[in-house]
């Protein structure tokens, strides 16, 4: 009850804010030199560089509705190859919802409708004949709370390759497991206890196990939904370092609550506000020179 009330309060406040200060919000938009090309009037309210030069995924006018609630409005955004894209914004702004569109995880939520176009390597993944199974094999996901399966560490990582039939032999499977654990910087910590249950690891280790599990199926994109929010600072640092290493081979989309984390790990940052994508751009630029009033207010800590 309370949550819902405060959410709608926030919405009301924000729209009031927008209505009372039209000149203020527009005055702070600074369409200067480089922006002219990327500043796209067509896309509601979004400022900055929506498009990437080497896109892996390209979303155009994506809308999400839960029943009557319009959770995501006309979001257009690219995820580039070998880049880390951070999505930030106050809670309830729709960043997680948008993330879950990218591998159609919203299909599992009852009453959720997604419209618009999402291309992966130029192919629309929203088309009705697209099977979500191979799609999710290409767009992996790591969740907010570490959720290792109640199986051994080995079996956790082997799960994906097994169901997708990626390994021809047990030796090959072992190779995949070992290399995934190595890539996830977990190998040294667990190599002696691969048969132990994955749930027995510490929180940070569990999350790296989940990352290992995701990369064992060789995805092209990895989606991370606040992967460090349940972890201590040391584990967080390890995961952040890992994300930076993984960028060499994968495109990574990370939703985060922490602006510092976004600044540390990402190359590009998208700022969401109440279902609208407000501003996208190079991370360095967003945090130093935000173009939109709301972005500036958020990163300077006026709300959020």
């Amino acid at each position: 009850m309370n949550e819902r009330a405060s959410e709608s309060d926030m919405e009301a406040q924000a729209s009031q804010f927008m209505a009372e200060n039209p000149e203020r919000t527009s005055a702070r938009r600074r369409p200067t030199e480089a922006d002219a090309a990327t500043y796209d009037r067509e896309h509601r309210g979004t400022v900055g560089e929506l498009r990437s030069e080497v896109p892996r995924m390209r979303c155009t006018r994506v809308n999400v509705r839960y029943g009557d609630k319009h959770a995501i409005r006309d979001v257009s955004l690219d995820v580039g190859k070998n880049e880390v894209l951070a999505m930030i914004g106050p809670s309830g702004c729709g960043k997680s919802t948008f993330l879950r569109c990218l591998n159609r995880m919203n299909d599992t939520v009852a009453g959720c409708r997604v419209t618009g176009e999402i291309l992966l390597d130029g192919k629309d993944i929203m088309a009705p004949d697209v099977d979500v199974v191979p799609l999710r094999a290409r767009v992996g996901m790591v969740f907010q709370k570490p959720n290792p399966f109640p199986k051994s560490i080995f079996e956790n990582v082997a799960f994906g390759p097994r169901i997708h039939g990626l390994a021809q032999s047990h030796a090959e499977l072992e190779e995949i497991v070992v290399s995934s654990l190595q890539k996830a910087n977990l190998w040294d910590e667990v190599k002696d206890r691969l048969a132990h249950p994955g749930t027995g690891l510490s929180g940070g280790q569990q999350q790296r196990l989940c990352i290992a599990r995701a990369i064992a199926i060789q995805p092209e994109v990895i989606l991370m939904d606040e992967p460090c929010s349940a972890l201590d600072p040391i584990s967080t640092a390890k995961i952040e370092q890992l994300i930076d290493e993984l960028r060499r081979n994968y495109s990574i989309c990370i939703v985060t609550h922490s602006m510092q984390q976004a600044a540390r790990v990402s190359q590009r940052t998208a700022y969401f506000h109440l279902g609208d994508l407000i501003e996208v751009g190079d991370t360095d630029r967003i945090f130093v020179k935000p173009q939109h009033q709301l972005t500036e207010d958020y990163i300077t800590g006026r709300f959020g």
Binding site: V133, P134, I163, H164, G165, L166, Q218, N249
Partner: protein, 432 residues
């Protein structure tokens, strides 16, 4: 850079290659699930179809209309019209005479015996009651509709095959001829089987009814309800509202959960050893049945009542305590009334469970053949499910029909009770 891209494409191809097999496995699994649900529901349908199919005909009864001359010389030779004498008169002779008149050419002891076997033994009592109610009938000729013998009834309902060899058939050729003659005469008709609801048990299937068993069940449930509801509510109130958390209450709690899963027959053993052998309560009496079923349903009702108390929000208690009520007053005046509908629902479900229970009643002797309708909780009686068990064991074909009909009645009662529980829950369900 090129190396991971290579494996990427490679793995993607493998995923695609496996999709056909995996989609088939998915469909298969889903199909198994559907099959399981379908099988479960199918069993339900078969069960009901079998019971109703066997039982619905028991609600009708074949009756034969006889013209009976009430001969004063047989009924009341002294002419006193004394009811005690009238009661003791040989009405069977009148019935037999009437049958003989209808088929005058039947001769020989054996044949006559077969002829008399067409109507039920209950005909005598029908005639007696008729005469006792109106002694002026004596000397006149009355048309009396009597129940046919169960074999005739079965024949008319098509459960006996006319084409079977005579030796394998319960209704012999000569009887068939008489029945056909009676039918041609318009003397055989099918009527609603009132006897089934007004009679007690009987050795004659056409006379057997469920009234005795039904009354036995009602008395038993009455005792069960009267004891288990207050006991369970008191126990639930204590455990949920007042009990300190300690070993003793933990023990009670574990105990209640385990008692709920103890086989019902063990409760029967308890009843036999404690109530009958130790306290020497009468065997076969609803009071003992009620006591045993009370102990059996108590855990169910306690668990349901505790859930009902738990669903009353603490703010109600705090509110009452805040205006100076004692904890006991808060519970009695505020919490209990709000929890009562939930408790009643649980109690009805417990009663439905008790109504269908058979095994413990067998142990305490409620399984005897009892023709009288019980008049109180100390009278020997059976119960509806036990009656079903007894009839199911009887060899006559007619009891199959009776058993199924008794089951239909039992299931109707259970359905009504459960519907009441659902209604109560819908009516009083609150969201805090």
């Amino acid at each position: 850079m090129s190396e991971p891209a290579q494996t990427e494409r490679d793995s993607f191809a493998r995923v695609e290659a496996g999709m056909k097999r995996r989609r088939a496995a998915e469909r298969r699994f889903r199909f198994f699930g559907k099959c399981a649900v379908g099988l479960g529901l199918g069993f339900l349908v078969i069960l009901f179809a079998s019971i109703v199919g066997n039982g619905y005909s028991a609600f009708w009864q074949t009756r034969i209309t006889l013209d009976v001359t009430i001969d004063e010389a047989i009924v009341d030779p002294a002419g006193t019209r004394d009811p005690a004498l009238l009661r003791a008169a040989d009405y069977g002779a009148l019935i037999k005479q009437s049958l003989r008149e209808m088929f005058p050419d039947v001769s020989g002891r054996r044949n006559r015996f077969a002829l008399y076997g067409l109507v039920s033994n209950g005909a005598n009592f029908d005639l007696r009651d008729r005469v006792l109610a109106d002694p002026s009938l004596i000397g006149s000729k009355v048309a009396l509709s009597v129940a046919a013998d169960d074999d005739v009834d079965m024949l008319m309902k098509g459960h006996i095959d006319r084409g079977a060899p005579e030796a394998d058939r319960r209704v012999k050729d000569n009887q068939l001829a008489w029945i056909d003659a009676l039918e041609a005469d318009g003397r055989i008709r099918s009527a609603f089987n009132l006897d089934f609801f007004s009679n007690g048990d009987s050795r004659d299937p056409e006379l057997a009814g469920i009234r005795g068993a039904l009354m036995g069940s009602i008395f038993t449930l009455f005792v069960t309800l009267g004891l288990s509801f207050p006991l369970a509510v008191a126990a639930a109130v204590y455990l949920e509202e007042f009990a300190p958390k300690n070993r003793w209450t933990d023990l009670i709690e574990v105990n209640i959960n385990n008692l709920a899963a103890v086989p019902s027959i063990v409760f029967g053993l308890l009843g036999l050893a404690v109530f009958i052998n130790f306290f020497t309560l009468p065997r076969s009496a609803p009071i003992v049945g009620g006591l045993v079923l009370t102990l059996m349903t108590l855990p169910t009702i306690i668990i349901a009542s505790r859930a009902a108390l738990k669903s009353v929000p603490p703010s109600i208690r705090e509110g009452a305590l805040g205006v100076g009520a004692s904890p006991m007053q808060a519970v009695m005046y505020h919490v209990l009334p709000l929890a009562l509908p939930g408790m009643l629902t649980g109690t009805i479900i417990g009663m439905a469970q008790a109504l269908g229970e058979t095994a413990p009643l067998l142990m305490i002797g409620m399984v005897a053949f009892i023709a009288d309708v019980p008049a109180g909780v100390f009278d020997p009686s059976t119960a509806l499910p036990v009656q079903i068990y007894l009839w199911a064991d009887s060899p006559e074909r007619a009891y199959v029909e009776k058993t199924s009909a008794a089951i239909i009645v039992l299931l109707l009662f259970l359905a009504a009770m459960n519907a009441l529980a659902v209604l109560l829950r819908r009516r009083f369900e609150r969201r805090w």
